[in-house]
Symmetry: C2
Subunit: 325 residues, 2 copies
Amino acid sequence: MPNIKQIAKAAGVSVSTVSRVLNKHPYVSEAKRKAVEEAIERLQYARNMNAVHLIKGITQTVAVILPHINHPYFMRLMEGIASEALKHNYQLMLCQTGYNHDEEMKVLEMLKNKQIDGVIITSRSASLDQIEPYSAYGPILLCEDVKDRRLSSVYYDHYLSFQTAITFLWEKGHRNIGFTLNRLNNSSGRKRIRAYYDTLQMLGGNGRAEWMLDGYRDMKDSAAIFPWLHSLDERPTALLITGDEVAAGVLLTAPQYGFQVPEDIAIIGFDNQPISELLGITTIDIQLSIIGARAFAIIYKQITNRTVEPASENLQFKLIERKTV
Amino acid sequence: MPNIKQIAKAAGVSVSTVSRVLNKHPYVSEAKRKAVEEAIERLQYARNMNAVHLIKGITQTVAVILPHINHPYFMRLMEGIASEALKHNYQLMLCQTGYNHDEEMKVLEMLKNKQIDGVIITSRSASLDQIEPYSAYGPILLCEDVKDRRLSSVYYDHYLSFQTAITFLWEKGHRNIGFTLNRLNNSSGRKRIRAYYDTLQMLGGNGRAEWMLDGYRDMKDSAAIFPWLHSLDERPTALLITGDEVAAGVLLTAPQYGFQVPEDIAIIGFDNQPISELLGITTIDIQLSIIGARAFAIIYKQITNRTVEPASENLQFKLIERKTV
DNA sequence: CTGTTAGCGCATTCAG
DNA sequence: CTGAATGCGCTAACAG
């Protein structure tokens, strides 16, 4: 593997001239440019980007922390991030951490070590207090509502979305309302629980702890819903399910358990995944790929401007009424 | 940001001693090690990995080329890759290329530029002739059957899997068999088409060009199936659908079009995605996450051993009989 | 066990 | 427009 020096020699110029043509500087005579290009071609020269990264102090790479890719939520988020990164010719480091705290910290260390220019945290197990100090080394953006920190954020309002869904259910006549949490994100979970109780109280109803289900993420998790429903003295008539996959599972298995949707049990999902459209599931569209795209766009801007000002963006969601409520 | 030199000065040692403790070398006196560690802590030192990459010539990073993450097929492949990479403390560069030829070549250039140590190509639009020369710069692995090249591969036998599925359908009494292709991979598509005709002929039946459907990838693509079916003079009684999402879509929309599964139309899917289990779709389990894990394991070994010997691995698939045939 | 030294490959002043 | 010289931050002989 030849280096810039050998190219310089082969082309009969200095290394700086080679560097100039490599970086498309103006002020290089046509003759020398040609000579350099010819030498590069002939010797099969390839620039060693590690040297460039070292000297420039940036790597054109952003890391994305996510617990697991194998979930539609993160997948769509990631897709939005990737599409936007592509536009700016940036690379993405995919860090599947499985909510492992040490793995998350390792990624933050990579930022400190200048291996990456910024970090997008889609979900986390580390605390904000642990994360924040790393913002000294580069922009960090979380996909959740973060305020008063040197951290950026792109999110939708979990509280408001829950409120919207519950109010919708209430207006459709439901008084007994249950919901599932996926534990995808603890901070969002807490907000949702609060929204659940607040909203029902505001409407003159009541939330119940036994109508709250935790740990529902996948389609197959839905299998536990009906046994649980059967075990209840008083049942909810409507379920707010944070994830269309789970909602689809519930809808599809309902007949086996003798339930009709929405007659016996109404369902509202989250995310507006393709499956909810196909099955006609009423859902809250949180536009994940837009969240992802905005996340990257913001962090990219911060990298480019060397800004330390954190930015925050609250994205809109919308309720899509279909046939399960 | 302090560098190794300043740490050396602060600790009253030489840079090489600092480097030694950084790299956990033996032969460093306990006293100096402590002094260095103290200085590192006190000055908040962080190693610049770009310098390390430059000098060592490796980056502990592998790139994965995929057309789009937002598809269960690639997502599960990616998950297997990521899980294995985590074990070996390697980073993953996610390159969503959208089948854009230039983007694929850019990733290969990154290999040449020493930004990454190896490349996993899950699907491609570039030709093998274009890809192969880059193997001079680091191991390249494709998730398809590649032979007689300086490229590694992990795959399952598309031909055999199609043959298995068609034979199964045949044995269940089906004589008119159609199939969909997703175009996820042209080379696999060709093999499948060949398997389709060969197998039916071998069994004493006949394949028909008008029973072949191209471009079916997503759940919502399935919407076109029934109109197409209605347009046919003679219809297939069974459909081999390369992708459980599409199969699920077909299954779920069948009633609207007055079709019963499997009575009016039998369905066999591919991939054994969670949805096929939930819906009871007969499918071919190709164990995507294992393919991914093996892919990374092989390329990791090649990087570590600095082997240039390409490796090839043919993984097993299995037919899972459920209720749609 | 430790320090000195010579690069890794490149970009970038600063003089011409 | 061009080249010489300097250094990015670190590792690894090499000599003690």
